[in-house]
């Protein structure tokens, strides 16, 4: 079978299958199953993380989840600092209101 004939066959199949697949992904059942899969996935991940953490804690070592939690807490602090420095920068530029600037700045 030539490539163009194969393509015609695929196009015919696709034409039939696309509305079915679209209906499927737009159905309530699909949304429910996707939500269920996400929930199960999270539960499994939580369970394995818990077991791994117990093993690391038994050795008096921090687990990956502890490090991650710390990183998120530091991240929240980092965000506060970023927003404050932006606010400061805005206030400063309002006050000074000078024209022109030098090259790139990384705040």
């Amino acid at each position: 079978m030539s490539p163009s004939r194969l393509r015609q066959v695929y196009d015919r199949v696709e034409k039939l299958a696309t509305p079915l697949a679209d209906d499927l992904t737009r159905s309530d059942e699909f949304a429910q199953i996707a939500a269920l899969v996400a929930g199960v996935n999270k539960a499994v991940r939580h369970h394995t993380d818990k077991m791994a953490a117990r093993a690391w804690h038994a050795l008096n070592l921090p687990a990956g989840t502890d490090v991650q939690r710390l990183k998120v807490q530091l991240g929240a602090l980092d965000r506060e600092v970023r927003l404050l420095s932006l606010e400061l920068q805005q206030e400063r530029s309002k006050g000074v209101n000078r024209r022109g600037t030098s090259g790139p700045e990384q705040d």
Binding site: P3, S4, R7, Y10, E14, A17, T18, A21, D22, L24, T25, R26, D28, F30, A31, Q32, A34, A35, A38, G39, N41, K42, D49, G64, T65, Q68, K71, V72, L74, G75, A76, D78, R79, R82, L83, S85, L86, E87, Q89, Q90, S93, R98, R99, G100, T101, G103, P104, E105, Q106, D107
Partner: protein, 356 residues
Amino acid sequence: MALPGLSRIDRVRREVERNALRARNGIKMATGIQRTDVGLSPKDVVWGHGRTQLWHYRSDQVRLGPPLLIIYSLFNRSYILDLRPGNSVIEHLVNAGFDVYMLDWGVPDERDAANQLEDYVDSYMPAAIERVCRLAGVDEVNLLGYCFGGVLSVLHAAHHLDSPLRSLTVLTTPADFQQVGPTRDIMARSDLEDVLGDDGMVPPSAILQGFRSLTPLSEITSRVDLFEKLWSDDYVTAYQAMTGWATEQVPLPGGVARQMKQLAADNSLINDRMYLGGDRVRLSDIRVPFLHVLGLRDHIIPVPAAAPLIGLVGSQEKTELQLDAGHVGLMVGKTAARTTVPTVVEFLTKRSEVLS
């Protein structure tokens, strides 16, 4: 299918040549030798804060002012607007004489997990606008938001009525979040905390799956198309650039995802119940000249989701343009070059002065 003007021998010869090229390009792609560079328009980073950068595109042909500041979406990478030389919205805008800046949000990580919409709308955007004005020595900018960047732009314009905006252009921007398709349904039914990674971000894989569920067979079709045209170097280059962009998602901060879920549940923009930092934000307060360009074949932000926006914005001078294009097609390829960009250029040129 018989091709006129080609004898049987010519057709066989052509097919043999194409198969040889298919094999060559296939091996190049499989081994990773074939790489496609994207986002090549020359630019300078003129400001940065956290993962966010403000880019200024170099040009020696700026003849229109005030500058144009592009606000990119929080999803995907911004190089879709500067995909390849000759297929770049940025290139078109620079060639039209605009002084172009882009606010790129970078790749967020756990430091951004708690980010809120207010961070972007009330902190980063005012800082970037102020920086553009200072660099260009002007008092106003033309603002252009793409996709969710359009949402950020209208929220900024509505929440900061004194923001120095000459005009506001948004492309394929949703207003009715209950019409955005299966992704919203899944979000509405899921516990968002199940989707968030340990870093507090929505992982790129989850976002990619969400987009794939919108057109379930398109990935297979694109691979079939690729096999068929694998002999063409131009097609392979374009395929790699587009596929790379479509699959290269960035994580979404969990804080923003929670707000988006609420925004969709309340349909806050449509129901005029949008709050930012405790303030009520009304799109009807926007007064600057406004243009919304949307795609009739957009499967990510379908017409019923995007079309209500024009009615919500309070500007007296407002225009909506519905083009026969998909979400990406609006900014890439022939539709972008022939229709979208000229329309945007025309709108912006009317709101600009010729610089002496």
